[in-house]
């Protein structure tokens, strides 16, 4: 699987604070990749670096094999929907579509008009008077109609109500199905990601804690509950991700590629949310001490 985004040793510093520190990851091609992590993990910084909105302090990032925003051709290949889905408040929906048509050689006007009609937006309405959900649809339409190879969405649904969120994600999924476009979207709403993503990256303090296809990740993780027991006594093929114990009982979340045969355990499958929470709360694999200064709040 080739990567649409490849980052290695990526650093981004704003004055004295590190927004991203030694981040290395790969986002696969042809997937809808969910980027999950606590606030301050560096998700937004990473996506803005990928879109070429900001330049890295150190390290390298390539998007579709090129430097981000390297030129008009590269810009045309990447669609970016920023946090809060900005739009020009004084410009109408139609004017925004004009903007897209004027500035993008690959503009798909039919797609844009169809999506606007489907979302029930009044083309004459000013963007400033649109609801959050409508504005998000407009921003997504602009990003999709330039027909990018990669679509980057930074927390596109964070500010939306559940219904608008579902409509937005539905529209996104339809577009992905219709046009061959790789998608990476960040969110802290795990339930949304579960619905749309087929690949997942858990980012904590700039480091990848977990990355993989969602189905494979779900298949390789189990929740075990049973009488209290020392996790050290588990077979070597079972990696303990999290553990919690009461006086009599132990609950473990483990990673294994083999069936759990021990009859003492009650074995249950895990959800995406279980996985994300487990990997977010798990102590990292020896993160560099200096990263503590980031003050990450989980």
């Amino acid at each position: 699987m080739s990567a649409v985004i490849q980052a290695s040793g990526l650093d981004k510093r704003y004055r004295r604070t590190w927004a991203l520190r030694e981040c290395t990851l790969a986002v696969p091609e042809g997937c809808v990749t969910g980027l999950v992590g606590p606030n301050g993990a560096g998700k937004t910084t990473l996506l803005r670096l990928a879109a070429g909105m900001i330049a890295p302090t150190r390290g390298a990032i390539t998007v579709l094999g090129q430097r981000p925003a390297a030129g008009p051709a590269q810009l045309a290949r990447v669609g970016f929907v920023a946090q809060d889905t900005p739009a020009y408040a004084r410009m109408s929906v139609t004017d925004h579509l004009r903007l897209g048509a004027w500035l993008n050689p690959g503009w798909d006007g039919d797609l844009a008009r169809r999506r606007i009609a489907q979302s029930g937006l009044d083309p004459r309405q000013r963007a400033g008077s649109l609801s959050g959900g409508q504005r998000a649809q407009l921003a997504l339409t602009l990003a999709l109609a330039k027909r990018p190879e990669l679509l980057i969405l930074d927390e596109p649904v964070a500010a939306l109500d559940p219904l608008a969120r579902r409509e937005f994600l539905q529209g996104l999924m339809e577009a992905v199905a219709e046009h061959e476009v790789s998608v990476v979207l960040s969110s802290h709403l795990v339930a949304d990601l579960e619905r749309v993503c087929d690949y997942m990256i858990v980012l904590v303090a700039s480091q990848v804690r977990l990355a993989g296809e969602v189905s494979a990740l779900l298949a390789s993780h189990r929740r075990l509950s049973g009488p209290r027991r020392d996790p050290g006594s588990l077979p070597a093929t079972q990696e303990v991700i999290t553990e919690s114990h009461t006086d009599k009982q132990s609950v473990l979340l483990i990673r294994t590629d083999e069936p759990v045969l021990d009859p003492a355990w009650a074995v249950t499958p895990v959800s995406v949310e279980d996985l994300v929470l487990a990997y977010m709360s798990r102590a990292g694999n020896g993160p560099p001490a200096r990263r503590q200064r980031l003050g990450v709040v989980s």
């Binding site: 900001i54 990447v78 903007l99 004027w102 330039k146």
Partner: protein, 362 residues
């Protein structure tokens, strides 16, 4: 990108067009009457030194007519236009995109930021220059009788020479330079500070400071001044003033230089026979003036053989002459071109900064 810039610039363009139209109507409605006043006062039909008197009458009557106020008002608009443009067109150009987050929208279309900025700067910047210069040209046409009266040798009240601070900045080609600079300054401040309102404040502060500093300290030195020494008796309307106990000190300024109409006087003061600056009244002259009061009063307050004229004659008799440093009137366009070039170079440097800043921004 050009079409988008035009679309986004249309409100500003309409505003500018409305202001230009109002300005044009105001001046077109009053200009012919001003010109007829000029003709009625006989300035148009005079020749040579015979023009001084009708020209004086005309410039004097300006003060009593509404045209004096209108002249100052229109001049003020021309001088303020660059600042207003810098504040309302320049400062928000980048800062507002960053503030509202629309930069992420604008810079993720298939157009590089460099091109985005180049088109925006060109359209708004050139419009800024055109609007300001248009204001200036309209007012120059309107004020032609006043300028002519000044050229005829009668500067008074609002009617000042081309080198005066107001006229130099409002006429000629300097408005082009000011507009380009103020606009680029606003854009740069916005790119640096990233917030519109503080950027506006900084733009105003820097532009105002420069507009004060330029005529006071920079403009006089753009060419090394000429120096001349003339008899104190040829100073015309300038009156001496005696100070100190018994009038033992005096000052004497020149207001113009005979034979050099329209020259820009930078400094003037009496020198003694050895050519050294002096302010000591020759003992024999101390009682001749006998003014005791400052300023050049009219001769009728003095007895025969006394008064300012006698005092000046006495000074002349004791070898006192007036030394003047000045810029000849013929250097007007050289000064205009130099100052405009300075502002244009500054504007280009600021624009260059904006491009560099934008490549690292957000």
């Amino acid at each position: 990108m050009i079409r988008l810039s035009l679309l986004q610039f249309r409100i500003q363009a309409i505003t500018a067009a409305a202001i230009l139209a109002a300005f044009a109507v105001l001046l077109a409605a009053t200009g012919p009457h001003l010109a007829s006043m000029y003709a009625a006062d006989g300035v148009g039909s005079c020749h040579g030194s015979g023009c001084l008197s009708p020209a004086s009458y005309f410039t004097g009557s300006l003060v009593r007519s509404p045209y004096g106020v209108l002249f100052l008002l229109s001049t003020g608009i021309i001088l303020l236009a660059p600042a207003v443009i810098g504040l309302f067109w320049g400062a928000p150009l980048i800062a507002r995109e960053l503030e509202t987050g629309t930069a992420a929208l604008a810079w993720n279309q298939s157009v590089t930021r460099t091109r985005w900025l180049a088109v925006k700067l060109a359209i708004a910047g050139l419009t800024a220059m055109a609007v300001t210069e248009a204001l200036s040209l309209m007012q120059t046409w309107w004020a032609a009788p006043i300028s002519q009266a000044v050229a005829d040798g009668s500067g008074a009240g609002v009617a000042q020479s081309r080198f005066s601070q107001l006229n130099f900045a409002a006429h000629g080609i300097t408005p082009l330079g000011y507009a380009a600079f103020a606009f680029a300054l606003g854009v740069s401040a916005g790119a640096l500070i990233r917030r519109t309102v503080p950027a506006m404040a900084v733009t105003l502060a820097i532009f105002a400071a420069l507009q004060v500093a330029m005529p006071l300290w920079v403009r006089p030195n753009l060419a090394s001044p000429d120096r001349t020494v003339i008899p104190v008796t040829s100073l015309g309307g300038a009156g001496p003033s005696q100070t100190g106990p018994g009038g033992d000190r005096f000052t004497l300024y020149a207001l113009n230089i005979p034979g050099q109409p329209g020259a820009w006087l930078l400094s003037s003061g009496p020198v003694n026979a050895a050519g050294q600056a002096t302010s000591t009244t020759p003992a024999a002259c101390a009682s001749v003036g006998n003014t005791g009061v400052s300023e050049g009063a009219q001769g009728n307050a003095f007895g025969p053989g006394q008064g300012p004229a006698a005092f000046v004659a006495c000074l002349a008799g004791h070898g006192i002459r007036e030394a003047i440093t000045y810029q000849p009137a013929s250097r007007y366009w050289r000064f205009q071109a130099t100052e405009t070039a300075i502002y244009l170079v500054l504007a280009l440097a600021l624009a260059g900064y904006c491009f560099r800043r934008l490549s690292r921004l957000s």
